[in-house]
Symmetry: C2
Subunit: 141 residues, 2 copies
């Protein structure tokens, strides 16, 4: 079995690049600074489906990105979560939250409707993220 | 500075025991099987406030408990999250979710009002958890 991205994740988010284990994606919703990390593994649903090495690596990738986006975005708080009640494929949410955002202080899932980025906005966000991550082993696409 | 539990967490949950790094608590809401892990560290807010060793240890403790409660509860899905938009003190949610629960498939935060356990229910839940965790270094209180 090989990794295949769940069609719902493919539809809702944009592929930014690849870390050693996870595919890095941006939720296509400009109301939030909302990244997804998806381990490129077949059939992973629960975090406990990863072996020890993959598990440590996944959280390491979360940490590396968290350390970048907190100062990059000046977020008030980071939210880190894996729920998977709707899309079973294991995926992690890493979200920079702001006291001024559309869901604060509640969680963001299921709040209103996504507002898509423009191409120019995506370009700009990606370029800033790429620059801030230049010390990380990310293959940008 | 020493660790002091945030009063809101103290009020909403019950102290079950202590892992090497985290205090283990049960949200006092019988609608959900909802555990909290709180690193016993002063001033930790973001996951990135932990040093490398603490960070790995925290996720290790999550994994150990996740491996226990999934089969113990026959949960349909585990939810793992740290939000902290309301209570800044770093705390992790580990929740056994069921297709039949009061919030499925949405997240559980902010859904309705907590329904407290009876003393007998807590006793029973704790005893079953304790037995299932007998291979783990948990100091039960």
């Amino acid at each position: 079995m090989t990794f295949e991205l769940h069609p719902r994740l493919a539809a809702d988010s944009l592929h930014l690049g690849d870390l050693p284990l996870c595919q890095l994606r941006l939720m296509n919703d400009q109301r939030f600074y909302w990244l997804l990390l998806i381990p490129r593994l077949a059939d992973a649903i629960e975090v406990t489906d990863l072996n020890e090495q993959q598990y440590v690596q996944m959280w390491q990738e979360v940490r590396q990105l968290a350390e970048v986006i907190k100062p990059l975005t000046s977020a008030d708080k980071l939210n880190v979560a894996t729920l998977g009640n709707m899309v079973p494929q294991l995926h992690l949410h890493l979200i920079a939250r702001f006291k001024s955002d559309a869901a604060w202080p509640g969680p963001i899932w299921g709040v209103g409707s996504a507002e898509h980025y423009t191409d120019a906005d995506i370009s700009q966000l990606k370029s800033a993220l790429q620059q801030a991550c230049d010390h990380l082993p990310i293959h940008w696409v």
